[in-house]
C-alpha cells in the first residue's frame, strides 16, 4: 500500500537534525478577558526564555505569527518587537491562516538551518475575544474583493462538514455510523485534555453525550467543532551543535514542510472530496526529509489539526497511518488513544485548548517538546522517539498543510 504518490523528491539538503528546540512557553488558553495580546506575548515569552536559560539579547532574529491583525495587535512585526523591547533585531511577521503558528516556527528553524543565525525566537499570539461576538472575525472581510462576490456564505464548520458528507457517501457510512466514529475521535481528545492544566476545557465527555449534541453544520455537531480561544506560545531554537550548551534534553527538528493547494480541489473535478490533497503531498516530503519509511510503525505520538473531528479522521489516512477509508477501524480499536499505538492529541488538541490561530501550531510543538522531556505529567507517553505535528489552514478545497517532525 502506498500512502503517497510516487514522485522524485529533489532536495538540496533538507534541515534534518540541523536545528534544536531549547526552550518553549505556552500561556493558559481560554477566554482571557484579563489579557490583551501584549500580555499573552509576554506570558509565553517569559516561560520560553526561562526554560531555555538564555537572556533576551542572545536572540538574533524573531518570527511573529498572528492571523487576524484586524482584531489583534495590528499588522507587521512591530507588535512583537515593541512589546518585548527586542533590541533592533530582525523580526518578521508571518500569517498562513490556521497554520500561522507552525509558519512562525518554520521561519525561525529555517533561518538557523541556513546558517544565518545561531539562536532565533518563534512566537505566535492571537487575541480573538474582543470582536463583540463569538467566533472569528467575519470572513467576508478577509476573502479578497473578488472572492467575496462569488464565494458561498461559508464558515469553517461548513467547509469541513462538506468533507464529512463526501467521506460518508464514498465509504458507505450512514450518517449515524459516521457521526459515531467522529464522536469517538473527539471523546478521546477530551479524555486527554481533562489531564492538562493549561487546557481551556478540562472535562471528559462520553461518546453518548457527544452524539446527543445538536448539529452545527450538518453532519458536524457541537463536539465535532473546536472553539475560539485567546493564547500565545513561543519557542527558542538554536543550531543543533550548540544545543547541549543550554540543556541536556533538547528536541531536534527532523523536518518542517508545508504544501499549498494548487486550485485543483476547488476548480477541477479530479479530487474526490474525501481527503486533503495537500496533506498527502506534504507528508511525503516530510517523511522523506526526516527519513521515515513506515509512519505507522515509526511515529510515537502526534498533534493533529483537530479544528473539526473529520479533519483528524481523514488526516490519519492522509499521513499514511490508516488505510484509505478505514481510519474508523483504527479509531474503534483505540489505536490513537493515549494508551494506544500512536497517541494522538495527548494534550487534548484544539478541542480542549481552543484555537488562537497564531499560537496553535506552537502549542502543538510545546506538547511534543514536553513529552520528550518527560514533563507531561499524567499524560506522559512512554519513551517517545518521533513526534509529528500537523497544522492546517483554510478549507479542504483550498488550504495549506504543515507537517513537522521532531525527535530526540
Amino acid at each position: 500500500m502506498t500512502f503517497h504518490e510516487e514522485e522524485d523528491i529533489i532536495m538540496a539538503e533538507g534541515i534534518k537534525d540541523k536545528v534544536a528546540i531549547i526552550g518553549m512557553g505556552c500561556t493558559r488558553f481560554g477566554e482571557r478577558w484579563d489579557a490583551g495580546a501584549e500580555d499573552l506575548i509576554v506570558e509565553a515569552f517569559k516561560e520560553a526564555i526561562e526554560d531555555a536559560g538564555i537572556e533576551k539579547k542572545e536572540i538574533q532574529a524573531a518570527w511573529f505569527g498572528s492571523c487576524f491583525d484586524e482584531v489583534n495587535v495590528g499588522k507587521a512585526a512591530t507588535p512583537l518587537s515593541l512589546t518585548l523591547k527586542l533590541p533592533f533585531i530582525p523580526v518578521t511577521r508571518v500569517e498562513n491562516f490556521c497554520a500561522t503558528g507552525s509558519e512562525a516556527l518554520r521561519g525561525a528553524v529555517y533561518a538557523v538551518a541556513s546558517g544565518a543565525y545561531d539562536i532565533c525566537l518563534a512566537l505566535g499570539s492571537e487575541k480573538l475575544k474582543d470582536t463583540g461576538y463569538g467566533g472569528l472575525p467575519d470572513f467576508s472581510q478577509v476573502l479578497g474583493t473578488r472572492n467575496r462576490l462569488i464565494f458561498p456564505n461559508i464558515t469553517a464548520p461548513g467547509g469541513f462538514a462538506m468533507l464529512a458528507t463526501r467521506y460518508f457517501a464514498k465509504y458507505g457510512l450512514g450518517p449515524e455510523e459516521g457521526k459515531e466514529i467522529l464522536a469517538m475521535v473527539s471523546a478521546k481528545s477530551h479524555k486527554n485534555g481533562a489531564r492538562n492544566p493549561k487546557a481551556h476545557l478540562r472535562k471528559e465527555i462520553s461518546v453518548e453525550k457527544i452524539l446527543k449534541a445538536p448539529m452545527i453544520a450538518w453532519p458536524l455537531g457541537l463536539f465535532d467543532c473546536c472553539g475560539v480561544s485567546d493564547g500565545a506560545a513561543a519557542a527558542i531554537v538554536c543550531r543543533a551543535d550548540l544545543a547541549k550548551n543550554f540543556r541536556s534534553d533538547p528536541v531536534h527538528v527532523k523536518s518542517m514542510q508545508i504544501a499549498l493547494s494548487s486550485g485543483e480541489e476547488l476548480m477541477y473535478t479530479d479530487w474526490d472530496g474525501t481527503y486533503v490533497k495537500t496533506a498527502v503531498k506534504c507528508a511525503a516530503r516530510a517523511y522523506d526529509e526526516a527519513g521515515i519509511k513506515n509512519p505507522r510503525e515509526e511515529i510515537s505520538m502526534m498533534e493533529l489539526h483537530d479544528c473539526f473531528s473529520i479533519t483528524e479522521l481523514v488526516t490519519y489516512e492522509d499521513l499514511g497511518i490508516s488505510p484509505r477509508g478505514k481510519a474508523g477501524n483504527d479509531v474503534r480499536d483505540g489505536f490513537f488513544n493515549l494508551d494506544g499505538k500512536i497517541p494522538c492529541q495527548p494534550d487534548g488538541g484544539l478541542k480542549c485548548f481552543g484555537h488562537p490561530i497564531g499560537a496553535s501550531g506552537l502549542r502543538m510543538m510545546y506538547e511534543m517538546y514536553k513529552q520528550f522531556q518527560g514533563k507531561a505529567g499524567d499524560r506522559q507517553i512512554k519513551d517517545p522517539r518521533i513526534g509529528l505535528t500537523h497544522n492546517m489552514g483554510g478549507f479542504p478545497a483550498m488550504n495549506l498543510i504543515s507537517v513537522n517532525i521532531v525527535g530526540r
Binding site: K209, A213, P214, I216, L222, C226, G227, C307, K351
Partner: protein, 108 residues
C-alpha cells in the same frame, strides 16, 4: 434492530464552543407505533464562526420496552428500535417541529 437508550437529562454538557441541556422527554403515536423523543436546548457562544444554539429534538426510536431496568447510576434504560425509514423520519420531523417548536430533529 433493538438498541438501549439511557434516560439521562438535566445536566449541562459543555464544550469550548457552547453547550446543551436535555430538558424533557415525550412520546407520541404515529401509525400505531410509539415514538420516543427528547428535547434539548443548546447555546453556541464561542465557536469559531458565529453564535447560535437552538431548541432541538433527538429521536432514539420506536419504544419497544419502556424503562425496563436501571443502570449502576440509577438511570432508567429503555429498549428502542432506531427509525431508519426516510418517509417515517420526514413525518416525525414535521410533527416534532410543530409540536415542540424545535429547529432540528436528529435520529440516532
Amino acid at each position: 434492530m433493538i438498541r438501549e437508550y439511557t434516560h439521562d437529562m438535566g445536566e449541562e454538557v459543555r464544550s469550548i464552543s457552547g453547550g446543551y441541556t436535555l430538558e424533557m422527554e415525550g412520546k407520541f403515536e404515529i401509525e400505531g407505533k410509539e415514538v420516543l423523543y427528547v428535547v434539548g436546548n443548546a447555546v453556541v457562544d464561542s465557536s469559531c464562526c458565529g453564535t447560535g444554539g437552538c431548541r432541538y429534538a433527538l429521536v432514539p426510536g420506536y419504544v419497544r420496552q419502556f424503562k425496563t431496568r436501571q443502570d449502576e447510576r440509577g438511570l432508567w434504560i429503555s429498549e428502542v428500535e432506531p427509525i431508519m425509514d426516510r418517509a417515517a423520519r420526514q413525518e416525525i420531523t414535521r410533527v416534532l417541529k410543530e409540536k415542540e417548536i424545535v429547529q432540528q430533529v436528529q435520529f440516532s
